[in-house]
Symmetry: C2
Subunit: 280 residues, 2 copies
């Protein structure tokens, strides 16, 4: 018998060729699947389903994964300790995982839970530093440094103009058979106490490279090279615009994935499956 | 003619054998001195005086250094640009420095300024995570993970009991001819929004390994292994106590060095020189 577990994790994307397992490359999926197989003594690699497939170099603090595992192997995890199987799984995994992957929590998935399709929304953060005097060498791996000072008010205004249900084809790498219609629930820019600019980007789901293109559309507004309304014009064009630069991966992190209450998980998954085929 | 410049900088201490230049080792002093010599085309390495000589692995966000440099070489830094020599120095240095050292500001030092002896106080921060669920893989290089949950209220109470003018011999590596009398101005523990425990430690100056020993005295209180009054008892003993563990370097960072107003810099330096010989 198998049971479905939910794994909440974070990772420093610097040393990974992204989430998705690829032969010969170090990926988060590869590392986590191997760790889970080791801990559960599974005869073959444990298959994982992820909420947000992050690209090479992208980080995560709030990634969510599900896996269907052998129930008796899971029940045996505590060994002779008095821990629950869930707590034992966290401890065992942290014993075999490298330092750049942290499993925060392991829980039994409620009925109908699918890490990818049950998700209501994903929240990403993008960090930009426009002031050498505010640059923090300890956070350089998650912050993009730009040359010119940015107008944060113009950027925030510009970003808010993109919120809503739209065809985001202008900000997506097109894939066969995949819709580019998404609901952008929040897109805001603020300057933190440390002087670093942070974007919060929330959507039901994202297509490939969408967050980094949304950031790339608004940074030129901050530089004064385009008016605040320009990104909305690009959006309305519904076609990939070469003037929109996809920003570097290392400024981006997946912060949170939100799911509906237990009773609505299966219905949400069914709905999401019907409307998207290659979501992020 | 020489002029004295003040350099404000930060660094990720992970890849350094500490501040002080040592033959054959990568040190912050070595790297910065070489960068400054390159930029100023100085015939020999530029000598640096630092506010806080950090140990191997210790970080800094608010380090301060002074250097006496050739005034005409400094004036030539902008080249044909319309930048000030100070702004040109920041740009040129960032062009030659590695990514783990960031120069935030270069300014002409006011009369009487000495980065080490004019300082009124130094502020350090120490980060401890006691919850795997709160561990941030992106900040693992500056956060020490401990196994058990810590009682932050007991730790904070305990820390505050150490504040004042004391002989900190119990928390210092003794050095010949150096006093271990210091004024601990602030020592407080709080749990941040991210669940990580942070100590703020402020003193006029610190002796060697003092902050890490002050943290090592209070963590056992948080673990419930000693009462809150224990660190004050150790302090009163005035002798190095083997029960106080010097905590790992990578949790520590020098956040700020505070100087008096311009007119008091020289007097402050004279006073500090008289009372300390091997300060930190």
């Amino acid at each position: 018998m198998t049971l479905r577990i939910r794994i909440d994790l974070g990772y420093d994307g610097t040393g990974f060729s992204g989430w998705a397992a690829q032969p010969g490359l170090r990926t988060v999926e590869g590392v986590l699947s191997e760790a889970l197989s080791t801990v559960l003594r599974a005869p073959e690699p444990v298959r994982l389903t992820v909420a947000g497939r992050t690209d090479a170099g992208v980080h995560a603090r709030g990634q969510v994964v599900h896996a269907d595992v052998d129930d008796s192997a899971f029940a045996r995890l505590p060994g002779r300790s008095d821990r629950s199987p869930e707590a034992a799984a966290v401890a065992r995994l942290s014993g075999v995982l490298p330092a750049d992957v942290v499993v925060r929590r392991v829980t039994l998935a409620p009925p109908g839970f699918d890490a990818r399709f049950s998700a209501l929304r994903r929240r990403y953060r993008y960090r930009v530093c426009d002031d050498p005097g505010a640059a923090d060498p300890l956070r350089r791996h998650e912050t993009v440094l730009v040359r010119d000072r940015l107008d944060i008010a113009a950027m925030d205004e510009s970003a808010r103009g993109l919120v809503g249900l739209h065809d985001f084809a202008a900000f997506c790498k097109r894939r066969e058979g995949a819709t580019t219609v998404r609901t952008l629930l929040e897109y805001a820019w603020r300057r933190g106490d440390d002087g670093v600019l942070e974007a919060t980007v929330v959507a039901d789901a994202f297509c490939h490279s969408m967050v980094r293109a949304l950031v790339g559309a608004v940074v030129p507004v901050g530089e004064g090279r385009h008016p605040a309304g320009w990104p909305a014009e690009v959006l309305a064009g519904r076609t990939r615009d070469p003037r929109v630069k996809v920003m570097p991966a290392h400024g981006l992190s997946l912060e949170e994935v939100v799911y509906p209450p237990e009773g609505e998980l299966a219905a949400r998954a069914e709905q999401a499956r019907a409307t998207r085929t290659l979501d992020r």
